[in-house]
């Protein structure tokens, strides 16, 4: 399951407002979209809201979706990107407080000490990612957090693969410097 043909079939069913197909798409992509949103806004609750809105927005727009070579996930990430922009425009980022992140016990199932370290690392990472340019952030999040290939990232952000590789290199260099200073 989840080959390109499967995804295409799911999307076609979703275009006919098949609830089951939509549910399947949700299951496939929600976590990735949530992670993307989390690293963009730095707040779990806001990221969950944005991820939910992405799928509701997708429901509204799915009838106009057309396959143009890019994977379906690219389309979802573009919606998420627009919602993140809306989030910052609305000034909600002032409420963001990484240190206040709670109940992250689901991911990892680790002990309190390890959990605290991971949370600290994650908070540092979010802060470091925010120092990158918009394009660099997109590449890093889509590549490392959402697990997309270079080709998929290229289609998602409208660049060629070479540009994506260059952006990736510059972003990792910048991140290394930022994280190394901490």
């Amino acid at each position: 399951m989840d080959t390109l043909a499967d995804i295409k079939e799911l999307v076609e069913r979703a275009k006919n407002y098949d609830a089951e197909a939509f549910g399947r798409i949700y299951d496939l992509y929600f976590d990735k979209i949530f992670n993307y949103a989390y690293y963009k806004v730095g707040n779990r609750h806001e990221a969950e809201d944005i991820a939910e809105q992405v799928f509701l927005k997708a429901l509204e727009k799915i009838s106009g979706f057309e396959w143009r070579g890019a994977p379906f996930s690219s389309w979802l990430f573009r919606i998420a990107s627009n919602l993140v922009i809306d989030f910052y425009r609305a000034g909600k980022y002032e409420m963001v407080d990484i240190a206040c992140e709670e109940h992250s016990l689901y991911d990892g199932g680790c002990g309190p000490e390890e959990f605290a370290i991971r949370e600290h690392d994650r908070a540092s990472l979010v802060s470091a990612i925010k120092t990158l340019t918009e394009e660099q952030q997109q590449v890093i999040i889509l590549r490392f957090i959402s697990g997309m290939s270079n080709e998929e990232v290229a289609k998602a952000i409208g660049k060629n693969v070479g540009a994506v590789k260059a952006l990736q290199h510059r972003a990792i260099s910048a991140l290394g410097k930022t994280l190394g200073r901490e």
């Binding site: 006919n16 407002y17 098949d18 609830a19 939509f22 549910g23 949700y26 299951d27 929600f30 976590d31 949530f34 992670n35 989390y38 690293y39 779990r44 990221a47 969950e48 991820a51 939910e52 799928f55 509701l56 429901l59 109940h103 992250s104 689901y106 991911d107 991971r118 690392d121 994650r122 990472l125 890093i140 590549r143 490392f144 957090i145 697990g147 290939s149 270079n150 590789k165 260059a166 990736q168 290199h169 990792i172 260099s173 991140l175 290394g176 994280l179 190394g180």
Partner: protein, 395 residues
């Protein structure tokens, strides 16, 4: 040189992301670039390891439920549900050749052409899944297209809702919960309410339908999306009010009627006055109150209603009242009382004949409670004046 490190970094990142190689293996494979590559790969690895975060499970689950509900809602709003009905309601695709007025004219012409054949008569009795059912829906659509005023459209939508209810009942043996059909009921009711606005006549007809099919509508209510529920709930709650009103009126003694005030009572008084000039059997029913819907359902403006009353033989307003009372009985097959018989073409009907009379009436919504089967085509409607006019002509 820089181009090289970009490619090498990407190659190593790809391998690390896909767990095909470790950091050490990557560095060993690219010894020349090791010094430049190592800090980059360490950062990339750190990014990879601490990146993934899981959303709150409960929030994820509730968000999923909301999404599914929204999808179902969307399916309902866009008519996808209707398309899912078995071989039924696929929309006729619009062609660019036909402009809107011509299309309307074409539909009307087609409807008349079909009316002239026996197909339409057979189609009327068809059920979802049968060959002629699409014809039935097409004709319904044509009738809506040909209806001029919103009032007529509302009446037609209500008829169609009633038809869907009958189809539901007919299909009950094989397919108890046909959601598409249930939603079609709700959609027709909703469309009728939208078209009717605040029409009193429509409201009374709506009450009749709701009272007659309370059980079915309550089942429908559970199946339709949230947006369609208010229409049915309104219909059900209104019918409850009417039931309560009627019940209280039946408890009131004739003498007390005069103390009442309000439009409904005035209508009752007028009705009683008219009753006095009629046959003895009519005047012997002083306590049989005419429901609110009576006036509306026999209005001159409603040709369908007039036709229906005529087709049922001697259907005086008293007959209508009788039948209205009958509709409150749970058993739809219960015979009409002897007083509801007529002296017209179907005079002297008893038993099954009286059932047929009821069918004709109910088809046109004036008298709720009867089963909706259009046994006779609308040809009888053409020459039929309203029931009230018939009554006025009587000595």
């Amino acid at each position: 040189m820089k181009r090289d490190i970009i490619d090498v970094l990407d190659e190593c990142v790809e391998a690390i992301i896909n767990n095909k190689a470790t950091l050490g293996e990557c560095l060993d494979a690219h010894k020349e670039e090791r010094s430049a590559l190592e800090p980059l790969l360490v950062s990339a690895l750190r990014l990879r390891e601490s990146a993934t975060i899981a959303p709150d499970r409960e929030r994820k689950r509730t968000a999923r439920e909301r999404l599914i509900a929204a999808v179902e809602q969307k399916a309902w709003e866009t008519g996808v549900e209707r398309r899912n009905m078995p071989q039924t309601s696929k929309r006729i695709p619009k062609t660019s050749i036909l402009s809107r007025p011509f299309a309307k004219l074409g539909i009307i012409t087609l409807a008349f052409a079909m009316l002239s054949s026996g197909t339409i008569v057979m189609a009327k009795e068809s059920l979802p899944g049968t060959l002629l059912y699409p014809v039935k829906l097409a004709v319904e659509k044509a009738r809506i297209g040909a209806a001029g005023s919103d009032e007529k459209k509302a009446a037609l939508y209500l008829d169609f809702a009633s038809e869907r209810v009958d189809e539901l009942e007919a299909l009950e043996k094989d397919n108890k919960n046909n959601p598409a059909l249930m939603r079609a009921v709700a959609k027709n009711i909703e469309a009728a309410q939208t078209a009717a606005g605040d029409s009193v006549k429509f409201k009374s007809s709506m009450d009749d339908l709701a009272r007659k099919n309370r059980v079915v509508l309550e089942a429908v209510l559970k199946k339709v999306p949230e947006t369609a529920k208010p229409a049915i709930e309104r219909a059900l709650s209104n019918s409850e009010e009417v039931d309560t009103d009627d019940a209280s009126k039946h408890d009131v003694k004739p003498g007390n009627d005069e103390k009442d005030s309000g439009d409904g009572e005035k209508r009752d008084k007028e009705s009683n006055k008219r009753d006095e000039g009629r046959s003895t059997s009519d005047s012997e029913q002083p306590r049989t109150k005419k429901p609110k819907n009576f006036k509306g359902s026999t209005s001159d403006n409603d040709n369908d209603v007039g036709a229906k009353v005529k087709s049922s033989g001697k259907q005086s307003p008293q007959n209508s009242r009788k039948t209205t009372i009958w509709t409150r009985t749970p058993d739809k097959k219960a015979p009409v009382s002897a007083e509801s018989g007529g002296s017209g073409a179907k005079n002297g009907n008893t038993g099954s004949d009286s059932d047929e009379v009821r069918d004709d009436i109910t088809t046109e919504r004036a008298i709720p409670g009867a089963k909706n089967k259009r046994k006779t085509p609308c040809s009888s409607c053409k020459s039929a004046p309203s029931a009230r006019r018939d009554d006025k002509k009587r000595p």
